[in-house]
Symmetry: none
Subunit: 417 residues, 2 copies
């Protein structure tokens, strides 16, 4: 089953809000085996809506529209659908009763504007909106299903879960789509591609590969499409094993999970604790760790030592070392990692010291130069990196790289020089 | 000038990533006076790309495409454009040199895959990508401009700012568009709208108002469009004065600047220094302050005290106070702010302690309850807030609110209880 998702509303076209509805709907439909061919955002304008309905009627099995169904002036979607499907407008008793009950619960009485929301095209099936007054609508014509829902995310999600998905599931008996995501850290996309070129070219036709890069992270997503779920699962597993035999050093997880979440799960499971001593990352490692709910179980605290004085007074770094080697040095970052771990009585300590830029670089230590150390009771490993000239990216990459070094140490994986 | 924005990539159609590029591009183009008519996400599939190019060539003046330009195999956009515009592929020396320099800086050598990125259609103008290897491309045919850029957000943004907008601005003549942005903190959009309703309704026709909310911040953007720049400037200034007479308490800046950048400028200008003691914000205040280039001039450091033990040992909080009042209390947050300031020898100290959630709430202190204190040599002001039940939003709001409290204290503005 092929589908298009359409979002109606000028607020998206001027960039005032980001369309998060479409991604959520796409995910849900995808899990049901529906393949999304296009996502479109259009103006809340009669002609634009009619054009889009016409565009999709021939090529799509399903068209999902959100937006433009509210009680206020911009209730243009219902009107346009009624014209397109040549509908008479009739008051739907069931919907009217539901709206009345909703208002009673909230202690308001029904206004005329609200009553009008129960007036629907005669040739649609209303989809119940348990969280709001604008019902969804289901039309069918020449083999294409059109579903219209309000744009308010929790109302839309309610209709999708309660009404749309159950109806679709009972209709679909075609292809299954399965995804497998492999998370890599620290390798540029082009390097990864060169490494896995032969494997990629030998992939069976049922499997497609996509590279999804973000700063410091590349996700490799395999998508298998076919009739037989068990067969596709075996196929994906085989390819995953082959892939990992090539790039296992670069992989931190075989599911779509953030590195900070992965580290959190690992520390929690092994009942280990962590502290950080941050210079160039400026609290970003701590902030990324504590963005995970439940992080207080393993993350104890951090000293953000932006000035040398704090490195000396709070982290016991030797003044002589800073003078002789500079704050961005193996000596200093090692002392930071060891001492924060001891000071905060944790199993591990992470430390960073680098030149995030844009200024402060030298020939010997250009902008982007960063030392990272991870310390445990047994050892302290420090490595030097260059994360480039972009301040925000250097901070992000240093954060991810330090967490990945920690992961390797916990799991006993060698960290290459 | 009418435009369409096209995002190419299956990862959006399966809902794995949310398309934030389009909203950002729409905003930027909008500011330049370009009107977005449609935003479309399509598959990274040759035929889908050709169909879309054809669809838009007749109706649009500008088509902006992102995605599918990386160095790897799934990068189909360049091939499709070359076919559509009947291009010969030629190696572009300038682009090749740029790619070589980028790799040299990062300490990698050029692979064959990277060299291929310098091979471009002969009939496009390359748009320089200062942050990456995939150049943008500018094509023109029958009055329509087609611009293709990589999908990685910071690379795309660089090309838009450095290349696309300057080119468009020099092409568009006619109306002048001037914007004035007023930054507010801590007031929900609906409250702000109610406060300024009368002013908004009396705005002259030449001025449009947009509410641009993010967690904790609402930007109010006035846009004036007309022929005469001086006249529009006077008009905007008058409306700004009227607006500030109503909501000056809620405004932290009258230009589009982040609160952390504003605080940075303020501290630098007044030669003042700052440290933070963070519990529930977990390093996010430090991280947000140090995201600003040059922040080492005023930000000294932070103690992220996620556990009570660190609050006691590193920040001198009394164990009795934690037992009697709880870690989320005025007593504790005040001690944290005072002691971090003294310990780090700074002019100001900020402290936070709260329940970010999702668990840990009680009837007396539900999830979202947060104490914030700002301390100076003269005084320490602490306030209690409830930032709601969403963990990430509570952290962001606490960060912004604490910075805004600091701003008010520096500028001698009363902080209401």
């Amino acid at each position: 089953m092929n589908a298009a998702i359409v979002t109606i509303g000028d607020e998206i076209l001027i960039g005032q809000i980001i369309d998060t509805n479409s991604a959520w709907i796409a995910q849900q439909l995808n899990l049901t085996g529906v393949q999304i061919k296009e996502i479109r955002s259009i103006s809340d304008n009669h002609q634009a809506i009619l054009n889009t309905l016409r565009d999709f009627e021939s090529g799509m099995d399903l068209v999902v529209l959100t937006g433009g169904l509210g009680p206020t002036k911009d209730d243009i979607t219902k009107k346009s659908l009624a014209e397109y499907f040549e509908s008479r407008m009739v008051e739907n008793q069931e919907v009217l009763i539901h709206i009345g009950e909703l208002f009673k619960k909230r202690g308001f009485s029904l206004t005329e504007t609200n009553r009008q929301q129960a007036i629907l095209p005669h040739n649609c099936i209303p989809l119940k909106n348990n969280s709001g007054t604008a019902a969804g609508m289901w039309f069918e014509r020449s083999g294409t299903i059109f579903v219209s829902m309000p744009g308010v995310p929790f109302e839309m999600k309610g209709i999708v879960n309660d009404e749309l998905l159950p109806r679709l599931q009972s209709m679909i008996n075609g292809n299954v789509i399965i995804h497998k995501t492999i998370m890599t850290q620290g390798v540029p996309e082009s390097y990864l591609a060169a490494k896995i070129k032969d494997w990629e070219e030998a992939l069976p036709d049922d499997i497609k590969l996509a590279y999804l890069p973000r700063p410091g992270i590349v996700r490799l997503r395999m998508t298998a499409i076919g009739k037989n779920r068990d067969y596709l699962n075996v196929l994906l597993q085989q390819e995953e094993i082959k892939l990992l035999s090539i790039i296992s050093d670069d992989v931190f997880a075989t599911e779509d999970i953030s590195l900070e979440q992965f580290i959190g799960n690992l520390l929690k499971e092994k009942k280990l604790s962590l502290s950080t001593a941050e210079s160039c990352t400026g609290g970003n490692i701590a902030s990324s760790l504590t963005s995970v709910a439940g992080s207080s179980a393993y993350f104890i605290g951090s000293v953000v030592a932006y000035s040398n004085e704090i490195k000396i007074n709070e982290l016991g770094v030797s003044k002589d070392d800073i003078e002789n080697y500079g704050a961005v040095s193996e000596k200093v970052v090692t002392a930071m990692a060891q001492n924060v771990r001891i000071k905060m009585k944790t199993d591990f300590g992470i430390a960073t010291s680098g030149i995030a830029g844009p200024s402060g670089g030298t020939e010997e230590k250009p902008v982007g130069t960063t030392w990272i150390a991870v310390s445990s009771a047994e050892k302290c490993i420090a490595r030097r990196f260059n994360f480039g000239e972009h301040r925000g990216r250097t901070i992000d990459r240093a954060t991810l790289t330090s967490l990945n070094m920690l992961r390797k140490i916990i799991l006993g994986i060698e960290i290459k020089p």
